[in-house]
């Protein structure tokens, strides 16, 4: 099975992230970016739904098993990875069609930030958390990351998410409209794809609106990371 697979379903594309826990590393980010290019260039769909092939995890964030030793060894792939990760977040934020994250399981750390880059989120109600554990991992956010979190969450949850590392359930996220709907696992894909199909908005206008709507985040993306990530910061072996 490839890391990323996608199919066209009427006017939408459904992309499945099939790399186990969908941890972010060079291969994962590259393949996601190239699938997004393919969908944009080779289809006429006007919405994208992204799910996970894993039974309980949508994305668990950065691939720390690879990243921590790579940081320690000053592996040049590390810089390439951070650039690719930023590029993937930016690509999803400004993707020229409506984007829907179908959170089929946990979204943690970079996985949670990635979920916030989508225009809409649906989430399974029976299990799965959205969580930013960076405060306990001692990993600071880049300015644009806080920007996308603030775009998706109301401020009182931003503070709880960032400073407390709170695990948010679908119920709580639905109450504050972070997700559009909490669904049973059986209904999740039906609901997410039905919603995406129903919109049918033109790519050009969606893209133009997003450029303005998320302009503040684009500005934050121009800021170079103020704190470089240091392996000694990360308390995970």
């Amino acid at each position: 099975m490839s890391v990323v697979e996608w199919t066209v379903d009427e006017n939408i594309a459904v992309l499945s992230m099939n790399s186990g826990e969908n941890r972010f590393n060079v291969k994962f980010c590259s393949e996601m970016l190239s699938a997004l290019d393919d969908i944009e260039k080779n289809t006429k769909v006007n919405a994208l739904v992204v799910k996970s092939g894993h039974e309980k995890i949508w994305s668990n964030g950065m691939d720390l098993e690879w990243l921590v030793p790579a940081l320690n060894n000053k592996d040049p792939e590390v810089n390439k990875f951070f650039k690719l990760q930023d590029e993937l977040m930016k690509r999803m934020l400004f993707y020229p069609m409506i984007t829907v994250a179908a959170l089929t399981g946990h979204a943690f750390a970079s996985g949670a930030i990635f979920a916030c880059c989508f225009d809409f989120r649906f989430m399974r109600s029976d299990r799965g958390f959205l969580c930013f554990p960076e405060v306990d991992l001692n990993i600071p956010f880049q300015p644009y990351m806080t920007g996308v979190i603030r775009k998706a969450l109301p401020m009182h949850l931003v503070v709880e998410g960032q400073f407390m590392g709170k695990r948010f359930t679908a119920t709580e996220l639905e109450k504050f409209h972070v997700i559009r709907k909490a669904c049973t696992m059986d209904d999740l894909m039906k609901e997410a794809t039905a919603f995406a199909k129903s919109l049918n908005k033109g790519r050009w206008i969606v893209s133009e609106i997003k450029k303005v709507l998320y302009k503040d985040i684009a500005t934050l993306m121009e800021i170079p990371p103020s704190v470089s990530m240091d392996a000694s910061n990360v308390p995970i072996k």
């Binding site: 600071p140 990351m145 401020m155 009182h156 103020s226």
Partner: protein, 250 residues
């Protein structure tokens, strides 16, 4: 923003800030009556924040008031009138700079900060409470109110950015342009405060929350730098100049 060389006319009850440490929580009690903000009160609070950061290993800061129904009543209008009548514009300017410095310090404070609002928060006091990461408020009495429109006190850009961060849009306009008094229940339902409790259990509930946080100072400081950078930017580039130029008049 160092103005320590300035002349001080009135220092208020500056010795009336109390510090208590429980586990890794620093509890500061403001015990200067209605805790009105003047040059002395700002300096005392800034000194206390230095003390908590440098001389304790606390990871969370809780600030409460000793007054039975006021957390902080905002700018000390009597003192402002007095120094204005004396033509002492320098002290007024100095106070406004110090007040900005206090907000800046709280917005970047490397500990999680919790305001235990056990009474009214008015004007500069309400704005000060918005510089904390979390707010809890008593439910039985006490208003959250910014009466700037009635007092004829203009606000600066950083204040608006700060209030935009904490208040929902409908409440922001109401607060700024009508000076409406919000009850604890109203600000809690809008999530401006995390929760409200009757005064007899407020502090226990706040401590229950604070004692379990224990997040490292380094990462909290870095996250606040990122989260509040737009407010700090306005404060440093616009607001400080505005008050130093004497454009901002009260």
């Amino acid at each position: 923003m160092d103005i320590t060389g300035g002349s001080w006319i009135y220092c208020g009850n500056v010795s009336t800030l109390e510090l208590e440490i429980r586990d890794r929580v620093a509890i500061v009690t403001m015990a200067a009556g209605e805790n009105r903000l003047n040059l002395g009160m700002c300096a005392a609070l800034l000194n206390m924040l230095d003390k908590v950061e440098r001389e304790t290993d606390a990871l969370t800061l809780v600030v409460k008031s000793a007054h039975e129904r006021v957390w902080c009543y905002g700018f000390d209008t009597d003192w402002i009138k007095q120094i204005q009548s004396e033509g002492n514009e320098a002290s007024l300017k100095e106070f406004l700079v110090r007040d900005l410095e206090l907000r800046r310090r709280l917005l970047l404070f490397p500990l999680i900060t919790v305001a235990a609002i056990n009474g009214h928060v008015f004007g500069g006091g309400a704005i000060l409470s918005c510089c904390f990461d979390f707010r809890f408020m008593r439910s039985d009495r006490g208003f959250f109110c910014i009466p700037a429109v009635d007092l004829g006190y203009p606000v600066v850009s950083g204040t608006v950015a700060l209030l935009k961060q904490v208040l929902p849009v409908h409440m922001l306009v109401d607060a700024m342009l009508t000076g409406r008094r919000f009850t604890g229940e109203e600000v809690a339902s809008a999530r401006v405060v995390k929760a409200t409790y009757t005064n007899d259990i407020l502090l226990d509930k706040v401590m229950e929350f604070a004692l379990h946080l224990n997040k490292d100072r380094g990462i909290i400081g870095k996250m606040k730098e990122v989260q509040n950078r737009h407010i700090i930017h306005l404060l440093d580039t616009e607001d400080l100049k505005t008050v130093q130029a004497g454009i901002f008049r009260v």
